[in-house]
Symmetry: C2
Subunit: 206 residues, 2 copies
């Protein structure tokens, strides 16, 4: 098998999801840094890999690309312990993956980006305040679920946890106050103790 | 098997995805109208079905609920002609499903909602203009793909088409100009000629 190639940006939560899963599966890959701050995802060459012009993109074999972080998670986790085999449990994983991309990430990730990565909290003040309420709403949905569950699906660690962990555990970098959410905080600690866990700024070692 | 029960709101594109697929699979179901305009999704009873307080929700059997339109599409289409069996083709379907929920629906659906369903174009003017550019960006990604493909994945009609069709074919109700996108327009006509097609405002007949 050819080595997987991941087009990635180290601070990206969406990229981190893939790095974390690949590390935990123990699958070797080559990481190629694409600097989104320099618009390196908006070039003709990159558009040929992902027409939507975003990282992460997984090159499965030469010229065969897959985009969208959660689609990549599903693809890589099939047949592993990180995706349940049971049809309804798998559907529940999907439910959380779509929740993450539609109700969570759009309202949490950009705040971290504007405040801590770009350092432009003042410039983006209005956009930040428009999103914050919905970000907290998503965190409350998670908190409610985690008050009676250790993980999101089937009481075990799956790609639903990986997807939600990526931007939640660094939400404080977008000035979200995670102290309000003790069940989320306990879950973050549970995720961090999973075998072969790596942090968001850590290059994977093989 | 118990009859599937769909908690739905007739004008909703996300709800329509499920109605359309169920019609095309030929699977009977009971549709329960939930009026989101009267906040009927934000009651304790509804939160017990979907903690995120949104339709559609599919009740698979008594007390067993599944939320998120695209997760429901995946669940229902498994083992049917609407979801490819091949692992990479299925991953491409997932890619478009996540594209729809993260890069398309958030920038297209609300404009139709504010302009044509609520009739409050003036009140939401600023929010509308903030989203329009990104809505057009998503339509361009679709147009580019459809210039060399009849459907989104594997040159055949799948749930990727259903998911993208839902809000695209009524994007004009959000004042998007679809005349700029001839390949999208031709694809819309192809979708409309699929067997057992139903329109977005049509109750399914059994």
């Amino acid at each position: 098998m050819e080595t997987l190639r991941l087009y990635d940006f180290l601070p990206s939560g969406n990229g981190y999801k893939i790095r974390l899963l690949l590390s935990q599966i123990g699958m070797p890959f080559e990481r190629i840094e694409v600097n989104i701050l320099k618009d390196e995802t908006r070039t003709p060459e990159f558009f040929s890999k992902n027409p939507n012009g975003k990282i992460p993109v997984l090159e499965i074999k030469s010229g065969k690309y897959l985009a969208e972080s959660n689609a990549i998670l599903v693809y890589l986790s099939e047949g592993t312990e990180f995706l349940p085999y049971d049809r309804f449990l798998r559907a529940q994983v999907m439910q959380w993956l779509f929740f993450e991309q539609n109700s969570h990430q759009p309202f949490i990730a950009p705040l971290r980006f504007w405040i801590s990565i770009l350092g432009k909290a003042e410039e983006y003040k209005e956009a930040i305040e428009q999103r914050r309420e919905f970000g907290y709403r998503a965190l409350k949905v998670m908190e409610n679920h985690l008050q009676s569950h250790n993980f999101f699906v089937d009481e075990r660690y799956t790609i639903a946890d990986i997807a939600l962990f990526a931007y939640t555990h660094v939400a404080d970098e977008g000035n979200f106050d995670l102290k309000q959410f003790p069940a989320i905080q306990a879950w973050i600690e549970r995720v961090k103790t999973q075998p072969r866990y790596i942090s968001i700024k850590e290059e994977v070692q093989h």
